[in-house]
Symmetry: C2
């Protein structure tokens, strides 16, 4: 038993329940299991992956927490419409739903290393402050109309070649997840409705003084003490921010 264990540990360090989680997650996202359908039963998953039920249940529980499935006693695990991203708000049109595919990204300011601002709405850890931050500005458009203007600050800690990456039409968070194994684990945010100043009005193509939704967010990651800070201005004239929790 111990031998098998150590062999497993050699070929892959990640625990079994996480492996199953990743497999099922991928299968849900890629449409192997349709929304509303049932996942294989816990016992089936045990047999297929040659693990025990508590381990399977650990994986399923994580999927429930992340909103990929819901379980019902006596019935099974029901596949849900996957959440856009944990806490990353997606937009929904007021008239018709708008898929992410119509969301374009324009880089206003390529990633560059900067010191942190003097006044900052969140407390920084010592390491973060010492390392400086990678600064970037983006404008995101729906149907060629600007909707988001966001300023992102990421601590410059162990992110090789980050500044040279392209983020056009690609999620910043997807890049962090796939290229650097950084996952968002939650966070906090402050929301306000403000009047658009000249810069924001110009960027979001709305009259100065019109209401704009502004967000200050601090996102936690799986890296200890590594946070992502964003300031977001949202043009809510034609769209609203949609979020699940």
């Amino acid at each position: 038993m111990t031998q098998i264990h150590s062999i497993m540990a050699e070929e892959n360090k990640i625990p079994q329940h996480k492996k199953i989680y990743e497999i099922l997650r991928k299968h849900i996202l890629t449409g192997v299991y349709e929304e509303g359908s049932l996942l294989p039963s816990e016992n089936e998953l045990c047999a297929v992956h040659n693990i025990t039920r508590p381990t399977v249940r650990q994986a399923l529980e994580a999927l429930v927490n992340d909103g990929f499935i819901s379980k019902k006693q006596g019935k099974g695990s029901i596949v849900r419409k996957p959440p856009q991203d944990i806490g990353i708000l997606s937009i929904s049109g007021t008239a018709s739903a708008i898929g992410n595919q119509y969301l374009q990204t324009q880089i206003l300011q390529k990633p560059q290393i900067k010191p942190w601002p003097e006044r900052f709405p969140f407390d920084l850890t010592e390491i973060e402050r010492e390392s400086g931050c990678i600064y970037m500005e983006r404008l995101r458009l729906v149907d060629a109309q600007p909707v988001f203007y966001d300023i992102n600050r990421i601590p410059n800690i162990n992110l090789p070649r980050f500044s040279s990456r392209s983020f056009e039409n690609k999620s910043l968070f997807e890049t962090l997840r796939t290229q650097y194994q950084i996952e968002i684990r939650g966070g906090e945010q402050k929301l306000k409705a403000i009047k658009a100043d000249q810069l924001i009005g110009q960027l979001l193509n709305i009259p100065v003084g019109d209401p704009v939704l502004s967000m200050e967010r601090k996102l936690n990651t799986n890296r200890d003490g590594f946070h992502i800070y964003s300031t977001i201005f949202f043009n809510s004239a034609k769209h609203s921010i949609f979020g699940t929790f």
Copy 2:
């Protein structure tokens, strides 16, 4: 073993891990464990409550998910600043933090049974539509200044004496939780920044045309197919909405 089990089942139907969860939750909220301090170790909790470690871990896992603790291997379970409510946004002053104790509630419209509006931003289940809704309006104030104006619609399903209850200075959700065992399990919301119209401007004591944060929310509960719908207008002149996720 089975005997012990059935005896347990007689005196209380709720599972052990949930009992432990409730106890620890209460102790965290009432300050028995200070923020930043460590919870008793899993083995200690086993001994104290006479249960096994998997059961304790199940309770702790729920506390982690609900943001009451964070765990660290080799160290222990660290008590965190408890979240205000799951998904129920609390406010934080821009200058100084404001505790909930300074939040006053004024009932503008006592709970009354009404039909659902013709146009509604969310889809209703059949049962919800048939039952009609309990309608109420509240104004919430900080330092005697209006901050929230909220409209709540709750399906009129199995809520005896609800209309006659008082919600002055008491959370609607706290009442639902303690009196009716209805717990919020998450939900979805749509956010916009809008211009204050005359009614909203008057209620929130701001000039007409000033930016107001508006929210449409649908909250899921532990009752299947039972949702709570709220429309919230927030005066973000002096405060911002603070939320964790």
